[in-house]
Symmetry: C2
Subunit: 305 residues, 2 copies
């Protein structure tokens, strides 16, 4: 069940020789564009072909050298030996049925969706015979900017990319997709689909929901402005993610709905426990909890060095 970190060196004998003739990028935004640039930088691809709805964005991507060609038809998927799905997760139910029947017999497919249980469900419904060659992935590399114009070859450098193979996944396709992500400079982490969604709910989706709730709870009071005038760096750090894109976070919360609700409940129970200690004046229990939290937070700092 637990995550398994893999070094980007050594584990994949095919890394140095890995090469793709045509890579299809479906959704040439920050993630899709950066993926293409990273593979081009290490000369792992001859031609990158971009699929997308917004012509202006694709034109920018071609002008920047992020992609070499703009696809005019879904049939062009068939000629690709590697396909990355990098559209927002909400578009996958519409996009995957277009891709599924057109995946080449030798091609491998990966994605960049920030939830995996729903993506796997869409793939099972849409990919048919190609399902074993779909290797779900989630690169944990965000940035404030979006669109092809924000793409850069080093976006994934040193960042975790979670790869969540399913029982149907072909072992060779898994290794090949893992090697591709390692070529982008990412640190791949193999993880169970359910654990991925739980981990992301707990460490990303829930903190966002808490930060959104915190801002609203304060801002909507008559004294809100006076209260906020007293805040310093601690509050600013804590609420920084409340400035995130509302549409994107609406979609993420809904895509991971059940798991997120479970995490909200677990968190609420722990908060209720701390409240009990505070209300009872139980300083010893409070200090024990706070000290454990500090130790965990300090270990995280060490981990990230």
């Amino acid at each position: 069940m637990s995550g398994h970190a893999e070094s980007s060196a050594g584990g994949s004998p095919s890394l140095a020789t890995m090469h793709f003739r045509r890579v299809g990028i479906v959704g040439v935004g920050l993630i899709g564009g950066s993926f293409a640039l990273a593979l081009k930088t290490v000369k792992a691809v001859d031609t990158v072909i971009g699929f997308g709805r917004t012509r202006a964005n694709l034109d920018i991507a071609r002008k920047m050298g992020v992609i070499d060609e703009i696809a005019t038809d879904w049939d062009e998927i068939t000629g690709c030996d590697l396909v990355l799905l990098a559209v927002p997760v909400g578009q996958l139910p519409e996009v995957m049925p277009k891709i599924g029947p057109r995946i080449g017999a030798q091609a491998v497919v990966t994605d960049a969706g920030s939830t995996k249980r729903d993506v796997v469900a869409y793939a099972r419904a849409a990919f048919g015979e190609a399902l074993p060659r779909f290797v779900p992935a989630h690169p944990i590399a965000g940035a404030e900017k979006s669109g092809a114009g924000a793409a850069r070859p080093n976006l994934f450098n040193g960042r975790p990319v979670v790869i969540t193979p399913i029982p149907e996944t072909d072992a060779f396709a898994f290794k090949r997709v893992r090697a591709v992500w390692q070529l982008t400079g990412a640190k791949t982490v193999r993880m169970d689909v359910a654990l991925h969604d739980t981990a992301l709910a707990a460490t990303s989706h829930l903190p966002h929901v808490l930060a959104f709730a915190m801002m609203n709870e304060i801002a909507q009071r008559p004294e809100g402005e006076a209260m906020l005038s007293l805040t310093g760096g601690g509050f600013r750090d804590f609420t920084r993610i409340a400035a995130s894109n509302p549409e994107m976070w609406r979609d993420i919360c809904l895509a991971n709905r059940d798991t997120l609700c479970t995490e909200i409940d677990a968190f609420s129970a722990r908060l209720a426990l701390l409240r009990t200690f505070i209300a009872a004046g139980d300083g010893a229990s409070l200090e024990r909890e706070f000290a454990a939290a500090r130790a965990a937070r300090e270990a995280l700092t060490v981990l990230s060095r």
Copy 2:
């Protein structure tokens, strides 16, 4: 009820001419020491006398020029025309009865406690005739370091200092203490005692409790380490305050117990509302809440420029 921000220029005609013969600093740590240094920098004081339990710390303070003399007896309070209480709030019930009867007839007293309702209650019990000349204050200026060795003259520069006069407070004492804090470079904010404690519970104490709860909820799971390996800058910012001092936050949470519990309940209700939207797949309501939160957070960023 709302906070009233006061500019440090203009409001106090006595600023330029304000001068103290002897300033007593009770608790010469980061806050007390920086207060002394700030007043020395603007030559508003002849002699600073330090009161404290730890001789080594007082020796450092004297060597650094933070204080000029080390008090050997509580009676030395009587000779001071300004006294700052800067010991941890937990020590005030013990310290205030020593100070109260010894406050000089013309002296003004202020403090630096991070909760005010309890400090006011201690003062009412201990200060007797001097109560009108006690002006409660809370400088919102922390730092990672503590002790006299960490003191610096610009600690309060541009930082908010909340001043919470009570009905008993003498108007002249209020103005004098406000001017002293402005001399340190701080932006003074006059606020009702209850609103101060609510504001701090909502914007400081609650976020700390949430961050502590978040770290423990994740770290104590078998998969905790794998989950934390996926975290990025957002999580790190959100949980940074979980590395705060456990004893200090135990004391703060207990000192502001009732108000903090009220804030935990209000926050929990708002979180439950968001959970309802998520569970029901109510994207429109979620997006509305998230957008309001983002607007509030962005306004805060503008405010702080």
